[in-house]
């Protein structure tokens, strides 16, 4: 006879685990990863490998220093560091091999400082991958803004974009020469490893929705609001809507970074407000700075999450209906007014 166990209710639990969710996120990233490697070749693969290894090693070494038994480290490994490494690397430009220290250091920063220092999975305030990218951007500005290379597939429309990315051109007032189809497929588009091929990201998005890791509305709100506000800020030219949302890291950030559980509000009401605000901020920052600002915007928004999740909550089942509440308030005001007269 085995030991009889006592535990708290409920004794049956759903099969879903944190690990399984993280595995789903990894699977969802795979198409963007493959697209990045196909487009940008060895450099892309190199960057990704360094970032993932750096993230995982940082977590393990941190735990070793904290004297967590090795057995536990492996048992408790929940794949989040792999996700962080992948997301971080895919949001970097296809950097030259000589810049190997950029993904390495950003990985250490992302996991070591942003996640482990705050207490590990679930305790971080800001998104590790996003912050890692911002860290890289600020620390290695030169390398981060000049490492663009042409993808393996040229544009279908035959145009060649040189130098800066499509988005920076567009924000500077230059109409994009690449077709929307090019922007969607990523052909001929210079940019970060995982951000260029929107179709690959979309496959990941559909997978996440089907697996119920995220709700379909989440990224749609971010992208939609950003696009709308962006168009309004840029002279109400609606032909810019598609190029505006298809260029840069918006879709990538909206699907993979903004949907991160830990750094967004847990209840859906607050979450929707959060995404609308995020969209507005992205568009404003893009306008204000003239460069891609998705990661900065997400980072900023991460900081107000605690506020949102505490103060924007649905009303419990059986609360006085909102309409009645308002009516009662008015009735009271009326009475008070009456007395005063």
């Amino acid at each position: 006879m085995q030991k009889i166990i006592v535990s708290d209710t409920p004794h049956v639990r759903s099969k879903l685990t944190t690990k399984r969710i993280m595995l789903d996120v990894i699977i969802a990233i795979v198409p963007a990863l493959v697209a990045g490697i196909v487009f940008f070749g060895g450099r892309a693969a190199f960057n990704v490998a360094i970032a993932v290894v750096s993230c995982c090693l940082t977590e393990w070494i941190w735990l070793l220093i904290k004297k967590v038994p090795v057995k536990d480290i492996f048992k408790k490994f929940d794949f989040t560091s792999i996700v962080t490494g992948l997301l971080l690397a895919l949001s970097l430009p296809p950097l030259d091999y000589k810049y190997f220290y950029i993904p390495l250091l950003s990985g250490i920063f992302a996991v070591g400082v942003v996640k482990m220092l705050f207490g590990g999975t679930g305790k971080n305030v800001v998104n590790p991958a996003v912050t890692g990218r911002v860290f890289a951007f600020i620390s290695f500005l030169g390398a981060m803004t000049s490492g663009w290379i042409q993808p393996a597939f040229g544009s279908i429309s035959g145009e060649v974009v040189t130098g800066a990315t499509v988005l920076t051109d567009m924000l500077a007032g230059v109409r994009p020469t690449l077709s929307n189809l090019d922007l969607f497929l990523g052909t001929g588009v210079t940019g970060c490893i995982g951000e260029t091929s929107k179709v690959a990201i979309l496959i990941g998005y559909i997978y996440l929705v089907v697996r119920r890791v995220i709700k379909w509305q989440w990224p749609v709100i971010v992208v939609g609001v950003t696009g709308l506000v962006g168009v309004l800020l840029n002279g109400c030219d609606f032909t810019l809507f598609l190029p505006y949302i298809l260029s840069g890291g918006l879709i990538y950030g909206a699907v993979f970074m903004a949907t991160d559980y830990v750094t967004s509000p847990a209840n859906n009401l607050a979450r929707y407000i959060y995404y609308v605000l995020m969209g507005v901020i992205i568009a404003l920052l893009r306008k204000g700075t003239g460069i891609e600002t998705v990661s900065f915007a997400i980072l900023l928004m991460n900081l107000i999450v605690p506020l949102l999740s505490l103060h924007v909550r649905p009303r419990p089942f059986g609360s006085v209906p909102f309409g009645v509440l308002v009516k009662e308030k008015f009735a009271k005001l009326g009475k008070k007014g009456g007395k005063a007269e």
Partner: protein, 433 residues
């Protein structure tokens, strides 16, 4: 033929019901045990007061303890024999209460338990329900008669046939085998409550019961989606009538009184057969039980005797649960006894129950989405862990929690949210708030 579809409430979740273990097994009468220990606290309210002494001879259906106050219930002997002792023993949830221990002489000798009823007016039915010691048999054990005398005017009676806890099939078998009797009991309840609107809510996984009850013209069958916690009073009322019970209010404030099908059956027995409540149907299930069964057991039957009667436990049994797996407490030993509210005894193997232990909350929001009360379970858990129970109440809404466990069920991090909830409630109550 009146069947309506239940109204959908937000939250809740689908849980594999695992009722197939016992759903097709007819109710079997468990032979009376050698000894019974009958609790004096089988209901919510004041403990009952013994009216027999150690050494007395009692008969089946004899009053052995009288209600200890308005919110209280009479207790009857379930066997004939000698009162061996009146002493403290453990309850399944780990607390202690007084028990009347009776040695069974197996004569099953029974004096005429309750007098014949002269008329069946609302008042006399109420009186009989009270006399027979009937309590809510779905779980809480609130004295049925008290519930039938609400302070507010009510206009409908709702019968709970949802049986949303996994594994349990005792209500299902009762509805299937005793349809007419339950119907009679329901109409008696309606008469006592003086209402004409009667609903019976049955989950869709029991289509035969839905059909069976739709044959009666005087009740409306509500075809409920299979969704946990459908059997929660507040959510059942909403599903059947569309009315919401206000926060901190009673069902009667929404004009409804809810009773369970097993209670309706007990009412039938008390009124028509003059039989007080001293036995009930329960489900003995789980993969750890060799022969899962639906049993008619006498009040106070030792659980280990029930397990032995069902062929014993498998060697790899891991957990014993009193009631269903969502809300029932686990038990360390089977040296415990059935009561009026014991709806199930589960012995599960380790692959049936979750024992993986908690990992850090990833703030995914699944708990909040699944909470039928629309609370913020992750905040309750967070603040309870941080010993800040005021905030658990303010931001998490723990005071409105119905302890259903849906949040913990869906949690991918397997947080012990219910434990945090219980702790918060306890601390808040101690704080005098």
């Amino acid at each position: 033929m009146k069947i309506t579809k239940g109204k959908r409430f937000s939250g809740g979740t689908h849980i594999p019901d695992r009722k197939e273990l016992t759903a097709d097994i007819p109710i079997e009468i468990m032979p009376s045990p050698d000894i019974v220990a009958i609790s004096l606290s089988q209901h919510i309210g004041k403990p009952s007061v013994p009216v027999v002494n150690a050494g007395d001879m009692v008969s089946v259906g004899q009053l052995i303890a009288a209600e200890g106050g308005f919110v209280g219930a009479n207790v009857y002997s379930s066997v004939s024999g000698k009162v061996a002792a009146i002493e403290e023993r453990y309850n399944p949830n780990g607390t202690k209460s007084n028990y009347i221990v009776i040695e069974n002489d197996k004569n099953d000798w029974s004096a005429q338990p309750l007098p014949e009823m002269e008329d069946k007016t609302a008042g006399s039915i109420l009186q009989r329900i009270r006399l027979a010691g009937i309590v809510g048999m779905g779980g809480a054990g609130f004295p049925a008669a008290v519930k039938l005398m609400p302070k507010q005017a009510v206009d409908c009676l709702i019968i709970n046939g949802a049986e949303c806890e996994p594994y349990l099939t005792c209500d299902y078998r009762l509805m299937k085998e005793k349809t007419d009797e339950i119907h009679t009991g329901i109409m008696l309840l309606a008469k006592a409550l003086k209402v004409n609107k009667v609903y019976i809510g049955i989950e869709r996984n029991k289509p035969d019961c839905i059909k069976a009850f739709s044959e009666y013209d005087d009740i409306t069958v509500v075809d409920l989606k299979k969704r946990y916690p459908m059997g929660s009073e507040k959510h059942l009322i909403y599903s059947c009538t569309g009315r919401k019970v206000g926060l901190g209010k009673l069902p009667a404030d929404a004009g409804a009184v809810v009773q369970n099908v097993a209670t309706a059956y007990a009412v039938y027995e008390a009124v028509e057969l003059n039989k007080p409540l001293y036995e009930r149907v329960m489900t003995v299930s789980g993969k750890g039980i060799i022969h899962p069964k639906n049993l008619l057991v006498r009040n106070g039957t030792p659980l280990d005797m029930i397990i032995t009667y069902c062929g014993g436990m498998r060697d790899d049994s891991a957990m014993m649960i009193a009631g269903g797996p969502m809300m029932g407490p686990t038990m360390l030993s089977s040296n415990l006894y059935t009561t009026k509210t014991t709806s199930g005894l589960l012995v599960t193997t380790s692959d049936e129950v979750d024992m993986s232990g908690p990992t850090p909350c990833i703030n995914c929001g699944r708990c909040a989405e699944a909470c039928p009360m629309r609370l913020q379970p992750m905040l309750i858990d967070f603040y309870a862990q941080a010993n800040d129970f005021e905030k658990a109440a303010k931001y998490g809404g723990v005071k409105n929690c119905i302890n259903c466990g849906t949040c913990a069920y869906v949690c991918p991090a397997k947080r012990s949210i219910v434990q945090s909830i219980m702790l918060s409630k306890k601390k808040l109550a101690e704080g005098g708030k």
